[in-house]
């Protein structure tokens, strides 16, 4: 049971960081940016490269996050702002195309082989029968702190108020003197940082591969939609729901039903479980589980 909770927490924070970024950017510019998952891979790749150059992982990770945040802003200004004038569907397709360009760049730079950060030997810590490693613990704590910091910014600062005002009614926000373009770019910057942090976290616990981002695409969209697209903290809860579904389906022993001692759903079907859940929830609550400040397109 404890192991189940730990597995859910690990998976949740991986999903939540990127899903929150996706949802909060959506709340401001009204299109789901597919490229965001590739920012996660970029973050992991840059951090890996910097570590290979001899920087300590913490420094490499920080630099990578800032770099990815900057890339996100530049791409937003150069590409997405222009595409958005043609409509949100166009912008979304543009972001899909851009993420394919990213995939190609990853294959050329990092190659098809998964790679790993240089890390110390990491024996398991045992806690009430459950096992985890200190890398997992550190990564989860950092991610949780990042989510908490984002929540503080959103609800306790002027910037957060401006963000929420812009999300609720951009015309009115502009009318009251809020520079909505600047607010949007700050949020894009933060979403890039969180995506990079998510990518680094996933790679520290497992491996970095060129396909990391695209593999996360569907569960992250599911988490963001479950949380009510545009609702940043709803996305975090959506991530928990998806993580529970995925972990549950691979942990339940179906053996007794068919008269065998052990029969498990193959782990590759875990994602399918989260989609089934998504479809059911959308049938019952078409706007997601949690109330959103934004109505979907």
């Amino acid at each position: 049971m404890i192991q189940f909770v730990i597995d859910v927490v690990i998976r949740s924070v991986d999903l939540a960081l990127i899903a929150i970024g996706l949802s909060s950017v959506y709340s401001l510019i009204r299109f789901p940016n597919v490229t965001l998952v590739q920012y996660a891979t970029t973050g992991a790749l840059v951090a890996l490269g910097l570590q290979m150059l001899g920087l300590p992982l913490i420094v490499a990770g920080l630099l990578a996050c800032v770099f990815v945040g900057a890339v996100a802003v530049v791409l937003n200004v150069l590409i997405f702002e222009r595409l958005l004038t043609a409509g949100s569907a166009i912008a979304m397709i543009g972001s899909l195309a851009l993420s394919m360009v990213f995939s190609a760049v990853f294959l050329v730079t990092a190659g098809p082989r998964p790679q790993r950060f240089e890390l110390d030997l990491n024996p398991p810590i045992r806690f009430l029968g459950a096992r985890f490693t200190d890398h997992q613990l550190i990564s989860v704590v950092i991610s949780a702190l990042a989510i908490a910091a984002f929540a503080l910014i959103l609800f306790r600062t002027d910037l957060g108020r401006c963000m929420r005002a812009t999300a609720t009614n951009p015309v009115l926000a502009r009318g009251t003197g809020i520079n909505t373009r600047r607010v949007t770019n700050v949020v894009v910057f933060l979403s890039g940082i969180m995506a990079a942090l998510g990518g680094i976290g996933i790679s520290v616990k497992g491996e970095m591969s060129a396909h990391l981002g695209m593999e996360m695409l569907l569960p992250i969209f599911a988490a963001a939609i479950l949380g009510g697209l545009g609702n940043a903290l709803g996305a975090a809860l959506g991530a928990v729901v998806i993580a529970v579904a995925e972990t549950l389906v691979t942990n339940v022993n179906f053996g007794p039903l068919v008269g065998e001692s052990f029969l498990f759903v193959p782990a590759a079907y875990a994602t399918a479980a989260s989609f089934l859940l998504l479809v059911i929830v959308l049938l019952v609550r078409p706007h997601g589980l949690f109330v959103s400040e934004v109505k979907r397109v």
């Binding site: 098809p112 591969s209 052990f262 498990f264």
Partner: protein, 364 residues
């Protein structure tokens, strides 16, 4: 008149060149992807054989060339590579691949194009069905899994959890091992076919653990096996009294961090035959290290057998090579031991050895 003489001389010259034409064969190997380490090791064996053949005067009076193409560890790229070798380079014979799931489509294509196919790394039983013109230099999985099952039982482990990749190779290993193991009185607690190329196998490992087996039997490709071994270590699975048993130990541990695989046991191809010592020495001399894996010798033997067949046939036509290979394979002593083809062109005898990891691969 002078012009005529020059032309005649040129004609004579070209005809001499044509008679002693170079022979070019092809190879499709995983030089990148999860099995890149093994693929490169296969390439080393081929490279050594080519150097040796050319130093000894080549084949049919000409030079021997081998064009090595990268499969990337993916069936579509492997097929593209094989098509390029057949249609552009027009090679009579192709050696390859490594993973059964890729060797089979490549072999099917070559058989259909009436070229000779030499399997040097795949052990799936399905390879047997490729048909005429396809030969295996390596023992197939009914033989290897039977050997592994007996070895596991002999160690006193009665309950086994099995994990292997979800492809032709892995399915073969799991079914054949299960068959042999239960026939010997053992019990399979959980058998998992994992999806290739994942960045984590934590979920699969936890499913395996639930059955509380005596031993974890696995067979996985280099990089994936490295991830499995590391995560098993991090979860503490296999650390206590239930060890890891690797089918093809050198394949499973080629990319693993030594700290995570210490104490694993397993079996592998006994890849050095009675007259393989000279080959082992040549390998050591050229690459400055012992064998990276158990698979390089098969590449070496494949080239040597092809050359023997071409010399015997006196021609580099695929049909002639194929017929001559049957004769050569009636009784051939290769670097990897005696290679004797059965009626399907598959190696009928394959020696194996029992190994363990104790600061490197050691006999057990």
């Amino acid at each position: 008149m002078r012009k005529l003489i020059v032309t005649a001389a040129l004609l004579a010259a070209t005809s001499i060149v044509a008679q002693a034409a170079d022979v070019t064969i092809g190879a499709v190997l995983p030089l990148s992807g999860a099995s890149a380490t093994i693929g490169d090791d296969q390439r080393r064996g081929i490279e050594l054989a080519v150097e040796e053949v050319n130093a000894a005067g080549g084949v049919l009076g000409g030079k021997l060339n081998v064009i090595v193409e990268d499969s990337g560890g993916r069936a579509p790229s492997a097929l593209d590579a094989a098509k390029k070798l057949v249609t552009v380079d027009n090679v009579p014979a192709v050696i390859g691949e490594y993973s059964s799931g890729i060797t089979i489509p490549v072999g099917q294509y070559l058989v259909q194009e009436k070229r000779v196919h030499l399997n040097i790394g795949s052990s799936s039983g399905l390879v047997r069905q490729l048909g005429e013109g396809s030969f295996s230099l390596i023992g197939l999985d009914n033989v290897s899994s039977g050997f592994a099952a007996q070895d596991v039982i002999d160690n006193g482990w009665k309950k086994a959890a099995v994990i292997a990749p979800n492809n032709a190779f892995g399915q073969g290993v799991v079914t054949q091992f299960e068959k042999a193991f239960t026939a010997l009185g053992g019990e399979i607690t959980t058998a998992i076919l994992y999806t290739e190329g994942q960045t984590t196998y934590r979920r699969e490992l936890q499913q395996l653990e639930r059955g509380a087996p005596d031993v974890y039997v696995y067979s996985a490709y280099g990089r994936e096996a490295a991830t499995i071994s590391r995560e098993a270590f991090e979860l503490g699975i296999g650390a206590g009294s239930s060890p890891w048993y690797a089918i093809y130990l050198s394949m499973c541990t080629s990319d693993s961090d030594p700290r995570f695989i210490q104490g694993q046991v397993g079996m592998d191809l006994n890849n050095i035959g009675a007259n393989g010592q000279a080959y082992a020495d040549a390998y050591q001399a050229k690459y400055g290290e012992g064998f990276r894996s158990s698979f390089n010798g098969y590449g070496y033997d494949a080239v040597k057998m092809l050359v023997a067949a071409i010399e015997k046939a006196g021609s580099a036509e695929p049909a002639a090579i194929s017929a001559a290979l049957v004769e050569v394979g009636a009784d051939y002593e290769g670097a990897t031991g005696p290679i004797v083809f059965d009626a399907d062109g598959q190696r009928s005898k394959q020696p194996y050895e029992k190994l363990k990891i104790d600061d490197g691969i050691k006999p057990r």
